[in-house]
Symmetry: C2
Subunit: 342 residues, 2 copies
DNA sequence: ATGTATGAAGACAACGTTGTCATTTTTTTT
DNA sequence: AAAAAAAATGACAACGTTGTCTTCATACAT
């Protein structure tokens, strides 16, 4: 690589290749209508000069900048890092940049803030993660303003935008079946944050598995949680204080499951001998706590990558019927679940 | 807020305020030499039209874009999220955007990749996190190319750039003193990744505390780790298999400490009754595992925020003697450390 | 009053691309 | 071989700012 702090512009390349700047532009943007011989000459010049197109100029002249935004309001660091990794991979591959934007749904002017972000940076589009991917005011605002977006794990898979999701319900069902197969019949469920649509899906999967073996859903065994450690711990304390406590607790994410395990430790309850615990997400944590956690592996990285690719595709060739992209979850059985105590 | 998808440009504002575009530009950029009355008129027009300057145009016309890059090669999700949060807070406050760029030091052409990133996006500067903040080839390349940067936790606090760090050595020393005060004399230390300069600082702090009570450093008690769970677990297995195993293990970060605790569980070793364990970083994990982890709280968010602010300041008014910014760590005593077993 | 700094504001040319159209060259058709 | 169609390329005007001069007031010193 030639170290050359001087700016090499499209004009330099054009001069070197003996063509007009427009032709260089065509080569760079892979437009058709270029003679192979000409293209090779231009490509050679580009490499010789180590030409890099100026993003600001492209953004100014072209219809959109090569930036897309990633929005999230999610307390789980591992989830976010995975999502970022996936989206970044797609962006790099496609020559886009990614603007990270954590936000808080508590903010009263969030929609306006986001719209402002889009305009300020001329974002080509947005990637929405839960719970933002399911927040009607935002979806309405973006649609009205014509801002393209792709959603990760929304509840309603309507046709209004491309989206990527996975079979939470089925995975939760499978995991519950696993607990049932171990002989458990009093299986508690800790619900996720009501703003996240995945919460409901996972609950439905749990109920479905119970129904399959003829068990009625027991409302006292379905406790509200909020996807964080503390709510899991609290819920577990509540469940374990019942006159007839459950023999297994299915927390609908790993953070809450960690809280359950913590609560069990506090009470000197051996896992899995006295209590089985399962989570959902397969964060790195799941392999690091003791005992290791039975959980569901979500392809978070892949989901984000797909979402970004769908968005970019939409940007390039607008107005297609949006793709729906389902991915598979995978149940991971580890040490935190065992046979029902006699 | 007026919802107006049409683009409002500086010309519209100028027309509305009855001034030239240059005057609007001056107001927007807070340049001096503006009559208060004029400024108010312009400001009013800006608000009335909901004008937002076009970033691409600014980047093209001006000397730099309003983007800075955040570089990291670090496996810890919590650390990264904290750093991002701090840097983003500073950027938002100062009207900059942040470009996230994970990278891998294993890549043979990393320097060139980074230089390319800077040029492609016309980045105003870079924030470097460990171990990048200590990697001579990169520092040399950036200096040579005149790319401004701020470093987080570098080893050498030279004057070549602004940097932010904290007293790892002192904190490690204090934590070791805590273990000594509990009666421990065979205290093992699991070293961090050799690429991170903090590793050495923490080791020195540990040795210093030992020296204070007249203990010689015992090489067999200093085991190499790499800041990840598995290396911590492995190191612990090795230490616990010794003929005369340590009564306390100080892992130089929380992930490794989690590995130690896992290994102790594997061997049925009660913590802290039979073995005390301490970590470093105070990740959320530290409060969630059982037993809760004695560790050192690092002001990661604040460090990143300061670093970003220093960088932006440098961008605005270049060529000052760079600031050195030390912050304080804080020892957090929890349940994983206890009196030495008799 | 006159000349001189000084502060405010404007005119206009960059900045490096892409989009639109016009032009040239090549290929196909008759 | 001529005409028509198609493909390849080029000329030039956007795009929306900031930077550099210039111009015009205004205040100040003489």
């Amino acid at each position: 690589m030639q170290i050359n702090p001087q700016k090499v512009t499209i004009h330099d390349v054009a001069a070197k290749a003996g063509v007009s700047i427009k032709t260089v532009s065509r080569v760079v943007n892979k437009e058709g209508s270029i003679r192979p011989e000409t293209r090779d000459r231009v490509t050679a010049a580009i490499h010789a000069l180590n030409y890099i197109p100026n993003l600001s100029a492209r953004g100014l002249a072209g219809s959109h900048s090569f930036l897309i935004g990633l929005l999230y309001d999610n307390p789980s660091a591992n989830y976010i890092i995975d999502v970022q990794g996936g989206a970044l991979a797609a962006c790099r591959q496609e020559g886009f940049d990614l603007l990270i934007h954590p936000c808080t749904m508590a903010s009263p002017r969030l929609c306006e803030e986001i719209l402002r972000l889009v305009r300020l940076n001329r974002l080509g589009g947005l990637i929405l993660t839960p719970p933002l991917s399911d927040w009607p005011p935002l979806l309405a605002a973006l649609t009205q303003q014509g801002v393209p977006f792709a959603r990760i794990a929304p509840s309603a898979h309507d046709q209004s935008s491309p989206c990527v999701f996975c079979n939470d319900q089925q995975a939760a069902c499978e995991l519950t079946r696993h607990l049932l197969s171990l002989g458990h019949r009093r299986i508690a469920f800790i619900k996720g944050h009501p703003d996240h649509s995945a919460s409901e899906q996972r609950l439905l999967g749990y109920r479905k598995a119970l129904a399959e073996v003829g068990l009625m859903a027991d409302a006292s065994l379905e406790v509200q949680g909020y996807f964080d450690f503390d709510s899991g711990r609290l819920a577990a304390q509540q469940l374990l204080a019942m006159p007839l406590p459950p023999t297994a607790i299915f927390a609908s994410n790993d953070d809450m499951a960690t809280g359950v395990i913590f609560a069990a430790h506090e009470q000197g309850l051996d896992i899995p001998a006295k209590l089985s615990v399962a989570g959902f997400d397969d964060t790195p944590l799941a392999r690091q706590i003791w005992p290791t956690l039975t959980t569901v592996r979500q392809p978070i990285h892949d989901m984000a990558e797909r979402a970004a690719l769908l968005l970019i595709e939409q940007l390039r060739s607008s107005r297609q019927p949006w793709q729906q992209h389902p991915l598979q979850c995978l149940v991971q059985i580890r040490k935190s679940t065992g046979p029902v105590p006699r």
